[in-house]
Subunit: 285 residues, 4 copies
C-alpha cells in the first residue's frame, strides 16, 4: 500500500543536492514518485525542491530517516527542510465576515473530498453565517471586533485557537486586519483572499476602485498574510474580463467566482505542501 512522504527543501544551490537526496532515499528503499525543483541561479542562487516518495514507515523508522537525512544530507548542504506525511490532514481554521461565497466553497470542497482538511473552527465577527456553517456540522464562533477594542477580539481568537490548534488559518473574506502581534502569536501560516489583482487596488473597496479606473479585467489574489496590508507573498491569482456595462455590483458578482476559485487553489496547494516561501514571493510546485 502506498505511503507517501513529502520532502520540502530549500538551500544554497550547489552541485550534488539531488544526487545526495536521491541516494539516501534509494538506500532506504523509497521510490521517488514525484519531484520538482527550481533554482533562482545555479551559481550562487537558492535551490528549492519538493519530492514525494513512497515508503512504508512506522513512527520510529520515520524518526530515524529524518535523523539520518539531517546528518548526512541536510546539515552538510545547509538545507531548510521538512518531511510531511501526505496522508496527514491539515487542520484549518476559517475566519469570515459577511460574504459567504469563499467560505461555503471551501467547506463544500472539503466535504466533497477535494481538500484534505479538517475544519475544527469557523470564526466570524458577525452572527450572519452561523446556520450555513452549522449545516456542515462544524463549529461557529462569533467573535465581535469593536473599533478601538480590537485587542479583545484578538485575545478571544487566540484563546479559541489555543484550545483547537490548527496548521493553517484562512481568511475567507474576513474584513478585519490582524495585528502583527497576533500574527506572531498565531505562529501558523495565514492565507488571505484579496478581491483584486494585487498590487493593483490594495486596501478597501477594490471593486469600486476598479470601476473608477475603468479596467477591462478584474482579479483576485490569494497570499500569505504579513504585517503589511495586502503585501504578503502571492500564492495564486486569476482575472476575468469585464466591460463598461458592469457596474460595481456586477464586478462584485463576477469577482466572487474568481475569488472562491483562487482561494480554493491556494488552500489546496498549501495543504499539499506545494508552496514554498521565497522571500516576498512563493515557489508553487
Amino acid at each position: 500500500m502506498a505511503s507517501i512522504t513529502r520532502l520540502l527543501i530549500s538551500c544554497p544551490d550547489q552541485p550534488g543536492i539531488v544526487a545526495a537526496t536521491a541516494r539516501l532515499l534509494a538506500d532506504t528503499g523509497a521510490n521517488i514518485v514525484d519531484s520538482d525543483q527550481h533554482t533562482t541561479d545555479p551559481h550562487g542562487g537558492t535551490f528549492y525542491m519538493r519530492m514525494e516518495f513512497d515508503l512504508a514507515l512506522d513512527a520510529a523508522a520515520r524518526a530515524e530517516l529524518e535523523t539520518r537525512f539531517a546528518r548526512e544530507v541536510a546539515d552538510p548542504l545547509q538545507m531548510q527542510w521538512r518531511m510531511a506525511d501526505a496522508s496527514a490532514r491539515k487542520r484549518v481554521a476559517i475566519l469570515v465576515s459577511r460574504e459567504e461565497h469563499c467560505l461555503l466553497d471551501l467547506l463544500w470542497r472539503a466535504r466533497r473530498g477535494e481538500l484534505a482538511i479538517d475544519v475544527p473552527l469557523v470564526v466570524s465577527n458577525h452572527e450572519l453565517l452561523r446556520e450555513d456553517v452549522e449545516a456542515f456540522g462544524l463549529r461557529y464562533e462569533h467573535v465581535p471586533v469593536v473599533r478601538g477594542r480590537e485587542g479583545e477580539g484578538e485575545a478571544r481568537l487566540l484563546e479559541l485557537l489555543a484550545a483547537e490548534p490548527v496548521d493553517l488559518i484562512v481568511l475567507a473574506r474576513y474584513m478585519r486586519i490582524l495585528s502583527g502581534g497576533l500574527l506572531d502569536e498565531l505562529a501558523v501560516p495565514v492565507i488571505n483572499i484579496h478581491h483584486s489583482f494585487l498590487p493593483a487596488f490594495a486596501g478597501a473597496g477594490p471593486y469600486a476602485q476598479a470601476k473608477a479606473r475603468g479596467v477591462k479585467l478584474i482579479g483576485a489574489t490569494a497570499h500569505y498574510v504579513t504585517e503589511r496590508l495586502d503585501d504578503g507573498p502571492i500564492i495564486e491569482q486569476d482575472t476575468v474580463r469585464v466591460t463598461h456595462r458592469d457596474d460595481v455590483p456586477a464586478l462584485i458578482r463576477l469577482g466572487a467566482d474568481i475569488e472562491r476559485v483562487v482561494l480554493a487553489r491556494a488552500v489546496r496547494w498549501h495543504c499539499e505542501d506545494r508552496v514554498l516561501r521565497a522571500g516576498d514571493t512563493t515557489v508553487v510546485f
Copy 2:
C-alpha cells in the same frame, strides 16, 4: 452597394434618444445595420450610442444629413456626436523605440487587411528598425531625443506631422514621454501600450517590478495618452499566466505576445470608431 456610416453619440440620458435618432434615419431611407448603447444611469446619467447605418450619400447629401441631424436631434438633446464614413481609412503615425514586436504586428495586420489603416510615417528615436519598416514600403524617420533637449525632438515630430496629417498616433513601445504641450498641439488621439496590467506597475521596468512582487499573471494595457503617465483611459487589457520559473527575460518574452495583441485590438477598435471616452474611462462598443 453598401455604404456604411457610423454615428457616435454621447449626451445626458433621457427618454426618446433612440427614437428620435432612428426616426430621422428612417426618414432618410437609412437602414440601421448595427446599434449599441450604454447608459451610466437611466435617470440623470450619460447615454452613449454607436450606430451603423447603410445609406448611399454623396458629399452634399451627407452634409445635409449632418445639418438636419444637428438641428432636429443632436442640439435639442445636447449631444456630442460625429458621423464617420466606415470606408474611410484612418491615417496612423506609429512611434517606436527599440522593441519591434508591436510595430511589426501592426504593420503585418495592416498589410493583411485586418486593420483598415494607412501608415504614412513611422518615427523612432533610434535608427534600429529602419530596414524592417522600409521593407513594408513605408517611410521611417529617425528623430533623436536628447536628454535636456527634448523640445527639439518634439518640434521635429510636429513638423513631420504637419506635413503628413494623421488621425491617430500609436506609441508602439515608444519609451519617451510626450509632454502635455505636445499632446495639445498634436490634437489627435494617442494610444500607448504599457507592458503591465495597469494600474499595477506603472512607470519604468514593469516586468522587473512584476518579478520582484511575485505576481502569478502578467499583463498589458492599451490606453489613451494623457498628461499623467500611464494614467489615461484604458481601452483594452489582457493577462497571461507566469510562474516562479519565469525570470525577467521570460516575462519580457511572454509579455510581448500579450502586448502586441492588446495594442492591435485597441487600434482596431479605435479605427472602427468603437471607443468612446467616458471621463477617465472608455466605453468600447
Copy 3:
C-alpha cells in the same frame, strides 16, 4: 420607479425595423434603456433585437401596448416577438442525478440573489441529494428511472410539472436522456450542461475520452436540449488548462469548476431573456 420591459424580436432584415420599434415605444412614453441587435446579413438575412424599455404599465395598458405593437410593427414586419416583464421571476425546475456541484451552485446563486429564479421543484433519479436540497427549504422529488421502463419516470415527471408549472427546466448533471416525446410535452426550454467542449467528446464519459485523446484543455458546454444528444444550440462554453499530470479524477475535479460557472451563466442569461434561438445556434445579447 423603474418598470423594465424586455422586447425580443426576430424577423427578416429590412430597413426601418429599429425606427418603427423605437417610434412606437417613444409614442407611449417609454425610455429605451438598453438595446442590442444583430443581423446575419443586412440584405436578406435575419434580424434579431433585444430592447429594454422603462415604462410603468398596468396589465390593461400592457395588453394594449402589445396589441398595438403587433398591429403596427410586428405583423407588417413579419416579426416573431415577445415582451417580458423584467421583474417577473422565472420558475425553474432542476433535474439532477448524483453530482451535486452544478445544483448547489445554482441554489447558492439563487439564494444570494444572483439568479432571479424560483425553484419550486428539484427532481432526481436518486435519493442522494435530498438533504442538500431540503436545507434550502426546497422540494425534492425522487423519480427513479428504470432501464426499459423509462416511460414511467417520464410520466411521473410530467405529472409533477403539471402541478408545478415552470418556465425552464435545467439539467444540472442529470444523466438520463429525455425522449423527444417528453420534450414536446414539457413545452418549455430545457438547458443541459455537458461536461466537455462540444462538439468534442459528446456522449458518455467525456473526461475519460479527453484523457485518452491527450487534450491540453478541457471544457464544458451549456446548451438547449433537442432530440439529438448533445447537439442542441450552444448557449455558453468555457475551457480550463490541464496537463499530462491530470488523471481522470483530476479532470473531473477541474472540470466541475467550469461546469458550474458555464451552467450558471447560461441560466442567468436565459432568465434575463438574453438568449435567442437562431436555427441550430444562439444569439446571446
Copy 4:
C-alpha cells in the same frame, strides 16, 4: 561556463530510477539544474523524466558518459533515452501554403532569438510567400503539388531535405496531406498546426464548421503528424472567445492569433526537448 545537457528518459516505473540517474551524474561532477518527472502509475506504469545538468564535456567525454549511462543505468532499467546538447540549435524546415501568419511568426521569433532554430529551407506549394521569406535571408522553394501527381511533389521534397537534413519539419498552415510513406522516409518529427480545438472540427474548413455549430470559443491545436489526419499526439492547444457577431472571416482573423501562438509554443517546447511522446498523447515538461 555553463554547458547544459538534457537527458530524456522513459521506462517502466520502478524504485530507484531517479537515484541511479542522479548518482551517476553526481559521480561525473554534473550539477542537475532542472528536473521534471511523471509517472502514469508508480506501480506498473511508465516513468518519464527530463533532466538538465551542467557539465563541461568534450566530444570524447560525452561519448564516454553516454556509454557509461547506457551500461550502468539505462540498460538495467530498460530505458528509452537520449542526451541532447542544449546549445545545439535545431535545424527546422517549414512547409507553408498561402497563409503567412504562422510562418512569419516563427521566422520573426527565430530572428529575435526566442526560438533557437536554424531554418535552412521553407517549402511551399505556392509562389506567394517567396518575398517574405527571402527578406529574412532564407531559402524558399516552390514545390507544386498537382492533384493526382502528389508523388512528384513528395519526391521533390525528399530530394530537397536529403540535401539539407533537418531535425524537425513544421507545417505552418501547409494545406496538403503528407502520405504515410513520405512520413516514414522523412524520419524526423513533423509538427502541424490545425485551426480548431481538436478533436472538434478535424478536416477541412474548421472555422466554417465552428460557425455552423455555433460554438462560443474557437481554438487551435499543435500536434505531431501521423498517418491519421488531424489525429496525432497533441502538444499544445488554446482557445479564444467568439460570439454570434463573428462571421467566418472574423473567426479566421481571431483564430490566426491563437494559431501562431500555439504553434510557436509547440515548436519552442519541442526544440527545448520538453515534449515526450506517450502513446497517442504527449508529456510536456
